[in-house]
């Protein structure tokens, strides 16, 4: 299937620092992509280019064949949803009100049924009338995920399958909700959306993604399925870690922290 998102020689520079260097990559509808890499490799910058937050210093970022900066914010919001890290809500909105913010531009009645089922899916139905700032960090993250999914679902009703972008979505979640969130995101891809997530945990990435993009110093070091991207060579070259690659019974690769030794950086 043709790409929904295309980057062509996209670079991003701040003064002399090159954060992203000539990135060319396609994202297709229905696939789950994990972006991994060490700190400062450019993962979040890449996600911010794809979301339209930043414009590339050179090169192109296209959504559905059109330059992403050419979209009005409202049109863009109907085609791509973003879950950011550390969203701070400083006024006493309720959980339900925050989730409803994902339905901006739609009538309340349209959102109502969806909000009920989304709150169930992120297991926050009991807290829907709570003041948002009283929630724990993980609960807040799940509510923001429900908001993001509401936006995706409403956009897809009128504009076809969308793009779901997740920036370290599991960072404040317990194990159960890490798995639940990524499975839910994966189910959106199975329904036809392109789902792209920045992840830190390689094992979670292997479970979640059809394709893992490994970044290093603003470039793509490796782009392939889990077996290709989680290899002893990538571990050594990109993460400066030596670890044996193990396999689950389903032939998914995994690495254990217990096995790892730190390599000297060249």
């Amino acid at each position: 299937m043709s790409a929904v998102l295309q980057l062509r020689s996209a670079s991003y520079r701040v003064k002399d620092a090159v954060l992203l260097d000539q990135i060319s990559v396609d994202f297709r509808p229905g696939e789950t992509v994990a972006i991994v890499g060490p700190n400062g490799a450019g993962k979040s910058t890449l996600l911010r280019l794809i979301s339209g937050d930043l414009s590339p210093s050179s090169g192109h970022v296209q959504l559905l064949g059109r330059d992403i900066s050419a979209y009005a914010p409202r049109d863009l919001a109907k085609r791509r949803s973003v879950l950011s890290q550390h969203v701070n809500v400083s006024f006493p909105f309720t959980v339900e009100e925050v989730v409803r913010m994902g339905g901006e531009g739609h009538a309340d009645a349209v959102s109502n049924g969806l909000i009920d089922s989304l709150l169930d899916e992120v297991e926050l139905a009991a807290l829907r009338h709570r003041e948002f700032p009283t929630l724990s960090g993980g609960e807040q993250q799940r509510a923001h995920f429900a908001r993001t999914l509401l936006q995706l679902a409403l956009g897809e009703r009128t504009h076809g399958k969308g793009v779901l972008l997740l920036d370290e979505p599991t960072s404040s979640l317990d194990l159960r909700h890490q798995i639940k969130l990524l499975d839910l995101a994966r189910s959106k891809a199975r329904e036809g959306a392109a789902v792209i997530a920045v992840l830190h945990d390689l094992n979670l990435a292997a479970r979640f993604a059809d394709r893992i993009i490994v970044m290093k110093k603003g470039t793509i070091a490796c782009d392939g399925d889990a077996t290709t991207s989680i290899s002893a060579k990538v571990m050594a070259d990109v993460f400066s870690i030596s670890a044996p690659i193990r396999q689950t019974q389903q032939a998914l690769p995994f690495v254990l922290q217990q096995d790892m030794t730190i390599l000297d950086r060249p």
Partner: protein
Amino acid sequence: MSALTTRGSGKSFLRRPPAVPTLLALFSLLALALVVSATVGAANIPLHRLWPALGIGTPDGALIDRDQLVLYSIRLPRLVCAAMIGALLAMAGALMQGLFRNALADPALVGVSSGGAFAAALTIVISDTLLAGHAYFGLDMLPFAAFVGSLITTFALYRIASSSGRTSVAVFLLAGLAIAALANAGIGLLVFIADDRQLRDITFWLLGSLSGATWAKAAMLVPALVAMLIALPLLARPLDLLVLGEAEAFHAGVAVERTKRIAIVLVSAMTGVSVAVCGIVGFVGIIVPHLLRISIGPGHRLLLPASALLGAVLMVTADSCARIIAAPAEVPIGILTAAVGAPFFLVLLLRQRALVGL
């Protein structure tokens, strides 16, 4: 996060009150405040004489002419000005707090009013010295000058406190303090070089008073109020979404830059014309939106019109008190709102400590 959990524990489960009854209740409160305020002052007009003087019911007695004179040329314009200024300042506060995602923002506190007052004072001195031939040029220009002064201040504050979509509360409050100090230094310099007549006009802004209210001044306030009411339905949802942060509001479909520009211009216009008419009156913009957020919720679609009504109630009441406390003399209203508002602000600051990271 633990501090926040205890903060909300008493009212964790919320149901929002319906919009129309809430607004009707506030409207009734405003009507009551206006009627009471119309009866009190240096010249008392008790209720049984108020209605006839307003043309309702039969006139009884010889005082009707005096009552009507007091009402139509002094008290009513004053009431109308007080109500509109209360509405403008409370909405300016609510709008600014939404824009900066910070419940401690108030146009007077962070120097926006001072910026307006400085521009107004500058206009008085310049038009009097340089443009002495055009007698009315200066006074007509005052609301506009105050608006421009407020606009420059708000914009500067925004540029200083915000970087890459995030606003630091500490930087915001401290920068506001510095800007207020700078504007006040400018006012001080103007006081220093002004002659006696200019000095009297300038002193008026430093205290904040409604005693000079006229129908003409009330008319100056109308455009800002109308502009805000027109923008309100367009601005309410984007302001709600801005609470998530600028990047997140953009992700959800808000034209962030446009929303910010409109909000900055409206805050400046509302603050500027208020300053031009009655000088610097602080804390209305903090007290009113805060009380409403905890009672009816932070959604701007209801918060902004409710702020206008409650702000009007507060200002009309404060003005009545200003006339009664030391009658027949008047206490400047800015002193009253500061005496109530400053302790309120401190309580708010202590409760929000965890939230703002101070």
